[in-house]
Amino acid sequence: MRRIGIWIAAGGLLLATAACGGGSGNGSAGTGGTPKAQSLSVGFVAEPANLDFTSTEGAAIPQALLVNVYEGLVKLDQNGEIVPLLAEKWDVSPDRKTYTFTLRENVKFSGGAPFTADDVTFSLDRVKSDWKLKIKSQLDVIDKVEKKDDSTAVVTLKRPSNGFLYSMATRLGAMFSRTGVADLANKPVGTGPYVLSSWRRGDSIQLAANPSYWGTKPPLGAITLKYFKDATAMNNALLTGGIDVISSVQAPESLQQFADPGRFETVEGTTNGEVVLSMNNGRPPFDDKAVRQAVRHAIDHKALLDTAWAGRGQLIGSMTAPTDPWYEDRTGDYPYDPAKAKQLLGGKTYNVKMRIPNLPYAVNSAQVVKSQLAQVGINAEIEPLEFPARWLDQVFTKGDYDLSIINHVEPRDMGIFADKSYYFRYDNPEFGKLLAAADEGTEQEQTDDLKQAAKLLSDDAAADWLFLFPNLIVAKKGVTGLPKNAIAESFDFTALAKQ
C-alpha cells in the first residue's frame, strides 16, 4: 500500500512537469530562448542522406537547399515562368545557340568569396566533370562556357534547345563557389538568402538568414526543416505546435483535423508529379497495346482519387501537368468502361505482379487498382518494395515488373518515355522524333509538338496516369508566403513569414 502511494506521487510529478512545460513550449520552433528574429519550423517527409545534390539522387536535397541556399542564374516562379535570379538578364542570339548572361553585382557566397563569371564557368564545367547524376546529360547540349568579363558569362550550345534554360533553373544550374566544394555532403556554400546553421541527423536541418545576402532579406531569421517518416506524427506535430507548416500532406484523409479556419490554413496547389500506373511495355502481357488499353478503361480514376487520396489532386490522362504550356486534358481518351476493357481482353484473364514503392500514395492507389482490375479479369498481386533502394533496383533498373505505381515528380519529364531503356520499356520512334523536334523548334513549335506527343502517349496507353499529385500544405494561421504550387525542385522559403 505504501508503495502505491509513491507511485501516485510520481504520477503527479509527471503531470506537474507536463503542466509547467506547457507554458514555455508553445513558442513553435523557438528552441533556444535567445531573442533572435522570428523563426518557423516546417515538416518534411524525406530527410536527405547528405547535402550533396551533385552526387546523390533524390528530391530531398534540392527541396531544402535550392533557391534557399544555392541559387542559379535563373529560377522558376510560381507560374512556371523562368525569371532572373543571379543573372540580371540574359540575351539569346538569333540562332538560339548563344546565351549571354549578365550577372548581378555585389553577390557574395556565404563563405565571403564574391560571385563572378568565373564561378559560372566553374559550376557549369563541373556538371560535366564531377556530377554523378544521370540528369546531368540534360546539359550535354552545352558546347562551351566562357567568361567575358567578371559580370558576363557566355554559354554556347551545340544546337538550339528549349530545355536548356529550363534546366538552368533546376539544380543543374546551381552556382557553386570555387572555394566551397570541398565538403558538399556536409557544408553547402551558396549565394542564397539562407545558410545551413546546423543539422541534427534523423531529426532536423536548421537554416539561418544569410546576413550578407545580396537581395531582399527574407522575413524570417531562421527556418527549421523537421523530418517525419510517419504522416500521423507530422500531423500531430502541427496540431500540438511542434511545427508551423506541413510541407506536403501524406495522409490527405486527415485534413479534417485542420478544418478549423481559426487555427489552420490549408493550401491546395498543384505539382509536376504525375502518379503513373506504369506498365511494362517490354514483356507480356503489357507488350500488347490492347491489354494496356483495357487497363486504362478498367480504372475508375475518379473513384481511385476519392478513395486513395481523399479526392485531392487532379485527373490528367497523360504525362503533362496543367502548369506546362502544352497541357491538354486527356482524361476523356479512356473513359471508365469495364465492359470495353473486358472486350479488349477478349475474355482472357491475367495474373500480373504489381511492384510498388512502399509509399502511402502508391500503397493506397495499388489497392484500388487491384480491386478494379480484378473486375475485368486481371489479377494483380501487390508487392510493396522498400523505397528507394529495392524499388529502384527491381523495377527501375532491372525492369522486373508488370505494373508499378510511382509519382514522377520531375518537371517536364515527358522525355523519359523517349528512352526505350527506361523502365516503361516504351518504344515508339515517332514519339522520340516529336520530342527532339520540340526541343529544337520555336516556342510555338515546341508547344504543338509536345501536345502531339502527349496525345500519342495516351493513345498508345504507354502507361496509365492515375492522377496529378496535389500540393497540399497545411500551416498555422498567420503563416504567409507559402508556395502554392510545387512545380520547381525546391521548397522556396524566401517569402515565408509569420504574422
Binding site: A231, T232, N235, A251, P252, E253, S254, Q256, Q257, D300, K302, A303, L304, D306, T307, A308, A310, N358, V363, N364, A366, Q367, V368, K370, S371, Q372, I382, E383, P384, L385, E386, A389, R390
Partner: protein, 286 residues
C-alpha cells in the same frame, strides 16, 4: 501442506483464465475458419460510394476509406493472425525443441555448450532486426515476417526444452530406460518429448501471443503483411490518419489484437498450471 493447499486453490482460479483464454482463442480460430467459407462482403473490394460508410445496413462495423467492409476484413484478418502465429511458432518449435532436447540430454557435453552458445548468439538478433534485414533482402511480406519472428523465437523454445529436459532426465523412468540400454533417440521420442510436451505447449501459446504483436509492429513499420490481404496490424496502421475523425477504424483491429493476445497469454498461463504443476517453475520465455 501449505504448498498443496495453495496450489490447489490456484488451480481452481487459473481455470477461469484457462477457460477465458481458450474461449478467446477458439473465437479467433472459429472466425478464421468461417472466413474461408463466408464473409458478409468481399473484404478487398474497393467501393468508392461506400467510403467511410457508417455501421449498419449489412455493414456491421462500417467500412474504411476504400469502402471495404470492416467486419469482413476483421474476419479474414483472423486468418492472417493465425497464419503468422502458426508458421512462426512452428519454425521456432521445429528448430528449437530438438536443439534444446539435445542440449538437455547431454548436459555436460560440448554439444550442449555449442548449442546454447549459438542459441545466445541467435538471441542477440531480435525479431524486428531480423525482419527488417530479411525484408531488405527478400522484400517485406508475411512470409519474411514469419520467418524472422520464428527464427528469433528459436532460442526461447530451445531454452525451455532444455530446462524441461534436464528435469525429466533425472526422473526414475528415464534412468530406467537408460539403464535398459535404450538408444538416445528412442528415449528422446518415447520418454522425453511426451513429458516436456506440456511446457512446450505453454511456450507455444506465449510465443503465439508475441508473434501477433510482432506482426502488428512490423505492419506499422511497413514490413508486415502485404496489402490488400487484410491483417489486423495493417488495418490499424491504415486507420491512423483517420484516428481523429473515424476512431472506430482503429478501435476494432485494436480490440481484435488485444483480445487475441490476451487469449493466447491466458491460455498459456492456464495450461501451465493445469497441465503439470511440477514443471510450473520452468517459465515460458518472452
Amino acid at each position: 501442506m501449505s504448498r498443496r493447499t495453495s496450489a490447489k486453490a490456484n488451480r481452481g482460479r487459473m481455470n477461469a483464465g484457462l477457460l477465458a483464454g481458450g474461449a478467446l482463442v477458439a473465437l479467433v480460430v472459429l472466425t478464421a475458419l468461417v472466413s474461408f467459407f463466408w464473409t458478409p462482403h468481399d473484404p478487398t473490394l474497393v467501393d468508392a460510394a461506400g467510403k467511410l460508410r457508417e455501421p449498419g445496413g449489412g455493414y456491421l462495423l462500417g467500412a474504411d476509406k476504400f469502402g471495404r467492409d470492416t467486419f469482413s476484413q476483421l474476419m479474414v484478418g483472423a486468418r492472417t493472425t493465425l497464419y503468422v502465429g502458426v508458421v512462426a511458432v512452428g519454425i521456432a518449435a521445429a528448430l528449437g525443441v530438438p536443439l534444446g532436447m539435445a542440449a538437455g540430454m547431454t548436459p555436460r557435453g560440448w554439444l550442449s555448450e555449442l548449442i546454447m552458445r549459438v542459441n545466445d548468439l541467435v538471441f542477440a538478433f531480435p525479431a524486428l532486426l531480423l525482419a527488417v534485414m530479411l525484408g531488405a533482402v527478400y522484400g517485406a511480406g508475411t512470409l519474411t515476417a514469419m520467418i524472422a519472428i520464428g527464427v528469433a523465437t528459436v532460442p526461447a523454445f530451445a531454452r525451455v526444452a532444455r530446462a524441461a529436459t534436464l528435469q525429466v532426465m533425472v526422473t526414475d523412468y528415464i534412468l530406467a530406460a537408460r539403464a535398459a540400454g535404450r538408444r538416445r533417440g528412442a528415449i528422446a521420442l518415447r520418454h522425453v518429448l511426451p513429458n516436456i510436451g506440456s511446457m512446450l505447449i505453454v511456450q507455444a501459446s506465449v510465443s503465439f501471443a508475441i508473434a501477433i504483436l510482432a506482426e502488428a509492429a512490423l505492419s506499422f513499420l511497413g514490413f508486415g503483411t502485404r496489402p490488400p490481404t487484410p491483417s489486423w496490424g495493417r488495418m490499424l496502421q491504415e486507420s491512423q490518419e483517420l484516428l481523429f475523425s473515424t476512431p472506430r477504424l482503429a478501435l476494432w483491429p485494436g480490440i481484435a489484437i488485444a483480445l487475441a493476445v490476451l487469449g493466447f497469454n491466458l491460455l498459456g498461463d492456464g495450461l501451465r498450471d493445469f497441465l503439470d504443476p511440477k514443471l510450473r517453475r520452468i517459465r515460458a520465455e518472452r
